[in-house]
């Protein structure tokens, strides 16, 4: 069995992807808040919030999948031990 570096574990990868989506969503929302126009509301509601929700869904899925792999007696497969 090959050992994974901390940054390559599936959990960390999903966290990173979730973070990027949430970050993108927040950026879109900030841009929309700086702009007073009906189109800004559309950008906020139909691009910013879905990006945010997608990021949150990936984060929640990563938690659920971590629990599933822990139930399968293989927690190390998705989450590495803290480095001392």
């Amino acid at each position: 069995m090959t050992s994974q570096s901390p940054s390559q574990s599936p959990m960390n990868r999903r966290l990173r992807v979730a973070g990027i989506f949430v970050l993108l969503g927040l950026l879109v929302e900030v841009v929309a808040l700086r702009w007073v126009h009906p189109a800004a509301f559309l950008v906020f509601a139909f691009i910013g919030i879905p990006l945010l929700l997608l990021g949150m869904a990936i984060y929640l899925y990563s938690l659920v999948s971590l629990r599933s792999s822990a139930d399968g007696n293989d927690p190390a497969a998705s989450y590495e031990k803290p480095v001392a």
């Binding site: 940054s7 929302e29 007073v36 509301f41 990021g55 480095v83």
Partner: protein, 207 residues
């Protein structure tokens, strides 16, 4: 004192900072405090930011400048500056009978339960028509203007109640049988087709 807008930006900045930290160092989430950090940064704060942002967008959508930012509304914005008190919107706007920063919303909201939500829904429909449909030419209200919106402020006001015409037609006005606008009494509203024939008033020059 920090402004609400600055507070929103601080909240977004804090959220983005924590998420950036997690993206750059996801291994932080290996221990309990890191997991709490991930929960706060990826779930709690973004939800809070979205609520605050949505609330800010809703408030902003009531602003006169927001309504007039669409090109099609430009003549309606100009009609607020007509130098003639017979123009109802102009008289209300220029005499500050309505909040001038929420002029459109104040008169075009439905003053009933969930009227604000209905107004927002109509606003979304305007945006849909503007970008994906064909706007009416000339644009007009979806339903006739209801006296209720006028009476929300004027009913009980001395200037309204002491007018002999209003007294004589009081019940008909309140029950919407006689329209304030289309019965021939206050029938000059935005009248955008005649704006090239009128004078405008843009306020007293600042000293």
């Amino acid at each position: 004192m920090i402004s609400p807008e600055a507070l929103v930006m601080v909240l977004f900045g804090l959220s983005a900072g924590l998420i950036l930290l997690l993206v750059l160092r996801p291994a932080l989430t290996a221990n309990r405090s890191g997991k709490i950090l991930a929960f706060v940064a990826l779930l709690a704060l973004p939800i809070l930011c979205s609520f605050v942002g949505t609330s800010e967008q809703m408030d902003r959508s009531k602003q006169t400048s927001f309504c007039l930012s669409c090109h099609i509304m430009e003549p309606y914005g100009r009609s607020l500056h007509v130098d003639d008190p017979k123009y109802i919107p102009a008289a209300h706007f220029q005499n500050h009978r309505i909040p001038i920063d929420q002029a459109c919303y104040t008169c075009h909201e439905d003053y009933v339960l969930y009227g604000g939500i209905r107004a927002k829904w109509r606003g979304l429909h305007h945006v849909y028509v503007q970008y994906l449909g064909t706007p009416m030419n000339p644009i007009h209200l979806y339903v006739p203007y209801n006296n209720r919106e006028c009476l929300h402020c004027h009913l009980g006001a001395r200037s309204f109640e002491e007018s002999p015409t209003h007294s004589a037609l009081h019940d008909d006005i309140v029950s919407n049988r006689v329209s304030c606008l289309t019965s021939g009494c206050h029938d000059i509203v935005h009248n955008v087709s005649s704006l090239d024939k009128v004078k405008f008033w843009y306020g007293v020059p600042q000293k």
